[in-house]
Amino acid sequence: MITCRQASLLVSKSLDAVLTSAERAALDEHARHCPRCVHEARKLEEIHRACREWADESLSDAGRAVLPADCRQRLQARLAAALQG
């Protein structure tokens, strides 16, 4: 059976890619006997979920306006120049 260290690497990889059937079987087998790894996997999933929420939130219109006035003016001027050019 794989170790917790190997299982943790596979849990992490499963958040980014599809595991091979052998990897999935090894991870499932380990998880059946290791509540600690099941708990640790939930924590990595929480971090994963929070990151996605964070990115979505920063891109939504609900967040506070942060574009500084001088930066806004420069961007508008640059865009206007490009439109005319």
């Binding site: 917790c4 260290r5 600690r36 996605r52 930066c71 806004r72 961007l75 640059r78």
Partner: protein
């Protein structure tokens, strides 16, 4: 499309002159989150608008204008990071990273106590505080590890795109992402507990030997 109707050359719905007002804040907020530098964030947003202007005839309209621009922005951010990486070659931090040894015993079992933090998904304030600590912990990651993690988890780039941008193999990528997550797990455990006000990350970080 009717042949009699006006020819729709572009899928862009809004006048480019209004882009800064429509999308400037959201794009800048995201660029700042990723680059943590106001000048670079402005540069990324400016390059995004200019690239969108050049490519607007090719915008299909299948996604929203915002989504289309965010896609451009993410690649501009990766370009800037890649440029910075070339200018400042990193120390061989990943080879020296001992987070796995700190987390696991020699026989591969977990070494320390399990994380006790929890996030209640129904509590918006709690989730917001958690993200604050997460952000501080992200800044504590070794630079390349942090970049790889952000490209994956914030930018949602594919493993192929990240490997190409960072010049690493896929196996390398899985190891770096795993180490970043182990480090974040420890940092969050040290700096956040359910119901508490967010504490500052860094005071309880796990590894004082991060590269710089």
């Amino acid at each position: 499309m009717s042949e009699d109707g006006p020819v729709e050359k572009s899928g862009v719905e809004s006048d480019p002159a209004t882009w800064v007002e429509r999308h400037g804040d959201a794009l800048y907020r995201y660029a700042l989150l990723r680059l943590r530098d106001a000048t670079l964030a402005e540069e990324a947003v400016q390059e995004t608008f200019l690239a969108a202007l050049r490519a607007r005839d090719r915008f299909s309209g299948l996604s929203t204008e915002r989504t289309w621009m965010v896609g451009i922005l993410k690649h501009k951010i990766v370009d800037l990071i890649r440029k910075q990486s070339r200018e400042k070659p990193p120390a061989d931090a990943e080879a020296l990273d001992r987070i796995e040894e700190e987390s696991f015993q020699g026989d591969g079992r977990w070494k320390n106590g399990q994380p006790t933090w929890q996030v209640d998904p129904s509590q918006a304030q709690e989730r917001s505080e958690f993200r604050e600590v997460l952000g501080e912990c992200l800044e504590e990651l070794p630079p390349r590890q942090g970049e790889v993690f952000a490209m994956r988890e914030l930018d949602d780039l594919s493993s192929e795109e990240i490997c190409k941008a960072m010049g690493i193999t896929e196996t390398n990528l899985w190891v770096m992402l795993h180490r970043a997550r182990l480090r974040l797990r420890g940092c969050i455990q040290a700096n956040w507990s359910e119901g508490d006000a967010a504490g500052g990350a860094g005071s309880g970080g796990q590894d004082p030997e991060d590269d710089g």
